[in-house]
């Protein structure tokens, strides 16, 4: 039986808020953020109707339309008879998302071997001895400052950007994997060997299997640094991509495009994070974090 709400509940620990309460509370800050933005936008537009620093809703809808329905400036314009699907398919935001996503997922794929190295570091003492100190040190290097070298080694095209992301995030993931895998109780390893496991059995079927949900969570936490490095790389040198467009738009204060782009990036990252979380729960229903 649900208890009626009392004001003192707000500071209580032993309370179970009703669904309606939790839902409405979680939207308050969103609403406040939008209201604050609208306030500043209105104030600035009252002073200068053409203000571009804090675009109004109409300006942003205009910018959104331009980025979703019109091809990028450097591309050829579409025929006037194009269908909506064709319009979206050749739009600026589609093109930028596709090229950024390609870089992002390539880097993400390259992080898998990094995590496996971390696993091996934790399980095989000689591998650990070989890598650990170097990775610990390498992790502290600010990857962004290596960019001129990356340009020379990997060229100015895709690979320098992908490697920037990998170099920036891989050491952290390796160390995290190392720590997580190191936490698997030794007794289990011994037990597995008494049951005639081989070395690789222990590494992949005992340790990896147990730590996989934690590794996926670790990747989730690293999505943001990954995006950050992607943005840094694209802003420094590129011909397309989400951050490229933002960098170009900044040249003439095209905030009416930049803000929808930022929200779009946030939405993409949020969805990817949610997807990983969902997959994790489906794959590992037994995993109950503390």
């Amino acid at each position: 039986m649900a208890q009626p709400f009392r004001v003192s509940d707000l500071a209580g620990i032993q309370v179970r808020p009703a669904r309606l309460w939790t839902h409405s509370l979680s939207w308050i800050l969103f609403v406040a953020g939008i209201a604050l933005y609208a306030h500043f936008s209105i104030v600035r537009h009252r002073e200068n109707p053409e203000d571009r620093v804090i675009p109004s809703a109409t300006q942003m809808i205009h910018g959104l339309k331009a980025s979703v329905l019109e091809p990028a400036e450097e591309d050829d314009p579409l025929d006037p008879g194009a269908t909506l699907f064709q319009q979206v398919r050749h739009s600026m935001i589609w093109k930028d998302t596709a090229s950024s996503a390609r870089r992002f997922f390539t880097a993400l794929l390259l992080l898998v071997p990094a995590m496996l190295i971390g696993l091996h570091m934790a399980v095989f003492p000689y591998v650990g001895a070989f890598f650990l100190l170097f990775v610990l040190f390498f992790d502290k290097i600010v990857a962004l400052s290596l960019l001129p070298i990356l340009f020379i080694v990997f060229g100015i095209d895709e690979w320098s950007k992908i490697m920037l992301m990998v170099i920036g995030v891989a050491p952290t993931l390796m160390l995290d994997t190392y720590n997580i895998a190191g936490g698997v109780p030794k007794e289990q390893v011994v037990k597995a060997f008494t049951l005639k496991s081989t070395n690789l059995d222990v590494a992949y079927r005992i340790v990896l299997k147990q730590v996989l949900p934690q590794l996926i969570n670790s990747v989730r936490l690293n999505l943001k640094p990954l995006a950050l490095f992607l943005f840094a790389g694209e802003m420094i040198a590129s011909t397309d991509g989400l951050a490229y467009r933002i960098a170009i738009m900044r040249r003439h204060m095209g905030m009416d495009i930049i803000i929808p782009y930022l929200l779009w990036v946030a939405l993409l990252l949020f969805s990817l994070d949610a997807l990983l979380r969902f997959t994790n729960r489906r794959l590992h229903p037994w995993y109950q974090p503390l």
């Binding site: 200068n48 053409e50 050829d76 100015i156 590129s238």
Partner: protein, 384 residues
């Protein structure tokens, strides 16, 4: 109780008795607190005195033609002129993009910028702006560089490193147009590269064959790789890439008249400064070189490709000429073609320019950029 704090700290260090140390520390804190209080009181007393004379902030960024602003404020020239007109002028250095953001955000009152940015940043964002000083034009500071003896006709298809949507792209387009290669423009493959990394990216990878940039980056590239040649530079398009001092029109038109005083003061100080530079005054040149951390030799080399309007009459004359209108028309058409005036600006005439003779380029009710020769003229007549 009024003790000198550092003496107190010494005593604190010497104390071994911990209770005594705590007490001494307390005294020390009390002394500090009192000092803070007194300092804030002093400020409180000092501020109203400052507030009586209106304060203006000028933003500038590193460039051969703008470095003199640093020397101007450091040498006391600016202070002398500001005092003469009873205003306070602060000079602040920014990154170029940040200076424009600050100007459009109305955080600063005046800012150095090129004619192109004056049009596509403040003016296009609805911030009515007035050009009070036409300082110089790029007379070779911006250049199209290429390896392997490439020619302009061979550029299409090759990646071109440049900061897009800046004068670099403008220069490249003009180079193509002036060489009859207009139809090749859509085939250029532009690679947006940040100016902080363009030198490394171009020199480090020989497969990057073309770059468009400005000095001192041009000199850095050419000095380090003798196989790089300049295909085209801004001396071929004189008076098109102008470096200006722009003041917000509402600041200039302040009802108390302080904006006019500010403009007069800064114009007076500017022409005194550039006269020194034109006369190769060693102090003025080394002071301006120091603004960007350049060596004197490197700064002099940059000045050679910068046409400084050191005489106010030449600046005033140019500001009132028909050439300015023609050059500005090229620039505004470029800005419009590249959507730099805004995504939803339907016509190039929506961001109109008012010239000293009253002529308007664009729609009469949409004047956003004004060229005002008054202050250059006054300087020329020695009436400042």
């Amino acid at each position: 109780m009024q003790r000198y704090p550092s003496a107190l700290i010494l005593r604190v260090l010497k104390q071994t008795n911990s209770a005594h140390r705590r007490r001494t520390l307390r005294i020390c804190f009390a002394a500090c607190a009192r000092m803070v209080l007194m300092a804030s009181l002093a400020c409180g007393l000092a501020f109203p005195a400052v507030a009586q004379s209106p304060t203006f902030t000028v933003g500038w960024s590193v460039y051969a033609g703008w470095n003199p602003y640093f020397y101007m404020s450091k040498s006391g020239i600016l202070k002398r002129w500001a005092d003469k007109y009873g205003v306070v002028i602060k000079v602040q250095r920014f990154d170029y993009a940040a200076s424009l953001d600050a100007f459009v955000g109305k955080n600063i009152d005046a800012c150095t910028m090129t004619n192109m940015e004056a049009l596509d940043m403040p003016a296009a964002a609805g911030v009515d702006s007035t050009v009070v000083i036409v300082g110089d034009y790029s007379n070779g500071n911006d250049a199209v560089l290429a390896r392997n003896n490439l020619t302009l006709a061979q550029l299409p298809g090759k990646p071109i490193l440049l900061v897009q949507k800046t004068v670099s792209e403008y220069l490249l387009e003009r180079a193509m147009v002036l060489n009859g290669l207009d139809n090749q423009l859509p085939h250029l493959k532009l690679l947006n590269t940040s100016d902080s990394d363009i030198v490394g990216a171009f020199l480090g990878d020989k497969s990057n064959q073309v770059a468009v940039t400005w000095k001192p980056l041009v000199s850095e590239i050419v000095d380090q790789d003798h196989g790089v040649k300049s295909l085209f530079d801004s001396s071929h398009i004189p008076e098109e890439i102008l470096d200006l001092l722009v003041v917000r029109t509402d600041v200039l038109k302040r009802p108390d008249g302080s904006g006019l005083k500010f403009a007069k003061a800064i114009a007076g100080a500017w022409y005194e400064t550039v006269a020194q530079i034109a006369a190769a005054n060693a102090q003025a040149i080394s002071g301006s070189a120091a603004a960007s951390g350049d060596s004197v030799a490197s700064y002099k080399e940059q000045l050679r490709t910068t046409y400084l309007y050191s005489a106010p009459q030449s600046a005033a004359q140019f500001a009132q000429s028909n050439e300015l209108k023609q050059k500005m028309d090229l620039v505004r058409q470029f800005c419009f073609r590249h959507a730099l005036l805004g995504q939803n600006v339907q016509s190039v005439d929506d961001v109109a320019i008012l010239y000293p003779d009253g002529a308007i380029q664009g729609k009469k009710d949409r004047v956003r950029l004004r060229v005002d020769a008054t202050y250059m003229q006054l300087a020329a007549q020695g009436k400042l």
